[in-house]
């Protein structure tokens, strides 16, 4: 109940933000009875209505994971973000090995297995993607 109410509130805030930005859309020079703003207005309106209805009729959601799981998801997110940012300067192999080791460890906390998985995945996939499929990735930046 509580989760859905917070969600509904979030929807209303984001939809309002969207609506505000929709008002800033410049008017075109062509004659067009609908214009560039109408459709975004409709979309924002439907979202606002849905947000309000979710607050009024919330679902019971009991399937929330333990706080520790969020910690793990946070680590996975950070690892993937760093991967995205380091792929260009450092190439495919090292960043992908690091993120694969972290993801593997998050699922099964066995560091030896994680390192073996990470290294074999990054080198194996690099060979497959680069030479097998010809994707043109850089090995080390």
């Amino acid at each position: 109940m509580k989760a859905d109410r917070i969600f509904g509130l979030g929807v209303i805030l984001i939809a309002s933000f969207y609506l505000y930005h929709a008002t800033l859309i410049p008017t075109g020079f062509l004659s067009d009875p609908v214009g560039s703003r109408t459709f975004p207005y409709i979309v924002a309106g439907v979202s606002l209505l849905c947000g309000a209805l979710i607050i009024i009729f919330p679902d019971k959601i009991t399937d929330w994971p333990h706080l520790r799981v969020y910690g793990k998801i946070g680590i996975a997110l950070l690892a993937m973000y760093l991967f995205a940012k380091t792929l260009r300067p450092y190439g495919f192999i090292i960043p992908s090995a690091v993120v694969a080791i972290i993801l593997s460890y998050l699922i099964s906390p066995n560091i030896k297995n994680a390192i073996i998985t990470g290294l074999s995945l990054s080198i194996g996939l690099f060979l497959v993607l680069n030479y097998g499929l010809g994707l043109g990735l850089f090995a080390f930046g």
Binding site: A3, F7, V11, Y18, H21, A22, I25, P26, G28, F29, L30, D32, P33, V34, S36, F39, P40, V43, V46, S47, C50, L53, I54, F57, D59, I61, P65, K72, I73, A76, L77, M80, Y81, F83, A84, K85, L87, R88, F92, S96, V99, A100, L103, S104, Y105, L106, I107, S108, N113, A114, T117, L121, S122, L125, L129, L133, G134, L135, G136, L137
Partner: protein, 500 residues
């Protein structure tokens, strides 16, 4: 005669070595993806899209590869349903009801072979149905103007969230979110930027491939982390594989009935394979003399939903190819493939790009034969794949998704956006917000708006023009019905539970 000429043209395209190789690899990869618990056809196609584009294949080849993956995943879904009682994807859910009890009685191999044959019957006949029906529907689509297309898109949104989602409000919200994202970028008509929030990178809009891979594949990573990869199949054993001829003969009519129901359920925009397998199962349960033994390991309870869901997969291609409106989540992803290839589905596709349509249909027929061979004698191989530990599988999925998207755009901005979509997808799943309407919104948003604006320009701003033809009114009524009906039908259509 036209049909045969078109089909022979299709086979000329599909029967080249390179296309055949793509069909076989697609079927193989698809069956593996479909059989892994949790990874359905939408995820499978989503993960492989960027790779397919990076290979520099032509339009027909990409389509052959992706539809083979799609059909393969539909076949593969049954493997974990039968052996683990965990559906590989949502449409395979009904197969658990009798498939798993059969496996518990020591008849796992029989159930796998029977379901493989049923999948073949369903998918093969549905492909023939697609061949016959799609050109007819394409002719009807010539009657469509902007107001009809606008109503048709609305129908797709109203029904797509329908039965698949538990909450209509959240399904509507998901559609609005997708449509809202589609508005970001340059306005098609004025060429002026809209809703870019001052970000230069958003001027081109949000690439729907990035959204699809994020919402489907990356969110799956978070779900895996949450479940610690519990859905594993290590230790699954399978006896000697023989052909259960008696069961197959007994289930002959069951398969045909399942196919018919599934095919038409698949054609309905948004209903998709889940409804197809559900209706096929429930229909057979009512019709069969031994209907009361359904849920205890009755082979008919395996044959019906498998024929139904694979037939629905073929049926769902009908509205996607002829009207540009997908009939299911996976066909929404396939629509993204078409649009990226600059192929606009619709009635003109049949005239302008016959090699694409008929090549695709011919390769679907070939893919089915390949899949039958793969899924009956070689089923043991796919059962082995089930035992890949999740701590290897998950990072592998992540790397393929990242590598694919990066090789397409070479932009770290797209990768970050994909991660954001992954997080959004995770919370959507937790909150019960369906993700498919979001994808559909991103895909169809600009077309829907263009048709609305065109209708208003034609009518000089008269909104009643949207209801000016019989077809448009019919579509509006169907859309409202499709949105409202699940509210009443949901209790009626509760999924039965296995009896043991």
């Amino acid at each position: 005669m036209d049909l045969l000429a078109n089909l022979s043209q299709g086979f000329a395209v599909a029967l080249t070595w390179s296309t055949l190789l793509l069909a076989v690899s697609g079927c193989f990869a698809g069956t593996i993806i479909g059989s892994l618990p949790g990874l359905g056809p939408s995820n499978g196609v989503a993960i492989l899209i960027p790779l397919a584009f990076s290979l520099g294949l032509d339009a027909t080849e990409v389509l052959v590869l992706m539809t083979s993956v799609y059909y393969g995943a539909m076949y593969g879904g049954r493997i974990s349903s039968i052996l683990l009682n965990i559906p590989g994807d949502e449409p395979a859910l009904m197969t658990t009801l009798d498939g798993y009890p059969m496996a518990k009685q020591g008849r796992a191999a029989d159930a796998l072979v029977l379901s493989g044959v049923s999948s073949f019957v369903g998918a093969f006949l549905a492909t023939i149905g697609l061949m016959l029906l799609a050109p007819l529907l394409a002719n009807v689509a010539y009657l469509f103007g902007p107001s009809e297309y606008f109503a048709l898109y609305l129908l797709a949104f109203c029904t797509l969230g329908g039965l698949a989602s538990k909450n209509q409000i959240k399904a509507a919200l998901a559609s609005a979110v997708g449509l809202g994202i589609a508005m970001i970028g340059l306005d098609n008509q004025t060429g002026l930027p809209r809703l870019t929030f001052g970000e230069l990178a958003l001027m081109d809009g949000v690439d729907f491939l990035v959204a699809i891979v994020g919402l489907f594949a990356v969110s799956e990573i978070f779900i895996f982390i949450e479940s610690h990869g519990k859905n594993t199949a290590i230790g699954v054993k399978l006896d000697k594989i023989t052909i259960p001829v008696k069961d197959i003969v007994n289930c002959g009519f069951t398969m045909l009935r399942g196919t018919l129901i599934g095919f038409f359920a698949g054609i309905l925009p948004g209903a998709g394979a889940s409804l197809g397998s559900f209706l096929a199962y429930m229909g057979e349960k009512t019709v069969a003399k031994d209907g009361d033994t359904f849920g205890t390991g009755n082979p008919k309870g395996v044959a019906a939903p498998e024929a139904g869901n694979n037939a629905a997969a073929g049926g769902a291609l009908v509205p996607m190819l002829t009207l540009g409106v997908p009939g299911s989540g996976t066909t929404a992803v396939l629509l993204a493939v078409l649009l990226t290839l600059n192929i606009t589905p619709g009635p003109l596709l049949f005239e302008e790009r016959p090699e694409v349509v008929w090549g695709l249909i011919a390769s679907l027929l070939i893919a089915n034969v390949v899949l039958l061979i793969m899924n009956v004698p070689l089923v043991r191989l796919f059962v082995k794949v089930l035992s890949v530990p999740p701590h290897v599988l998950l990072p592998g999925i992540a790397m393929v998704a990242f590598g694919g998207i990066y090789s397409l755009s070479g932009s770290s901005h797209d990768l970050v956006l994909m991660i954001v979509f992954g997080l959004v997808g995770y919370f959507c799943r937790k909150l019960g917000v369906p993700t498919v309407p979001i994808i559909l919104g991103i895909l169809l948003g600009n077309n829907m708006e263009d048709n609305l604006r065109r209708a208003m320009i034609i009518s000089g701003g008269d909104w009643t023009y949207l209801f000016s033809s019989g077809i448009a009114i019919g579509l509006w009524v169907a859309a409202i019905g499709g949105f409202v009906a699940p509210l009443f039908l949901r209790n009626l259509l509760k999924k039965p539970k296995p009896k043991i």
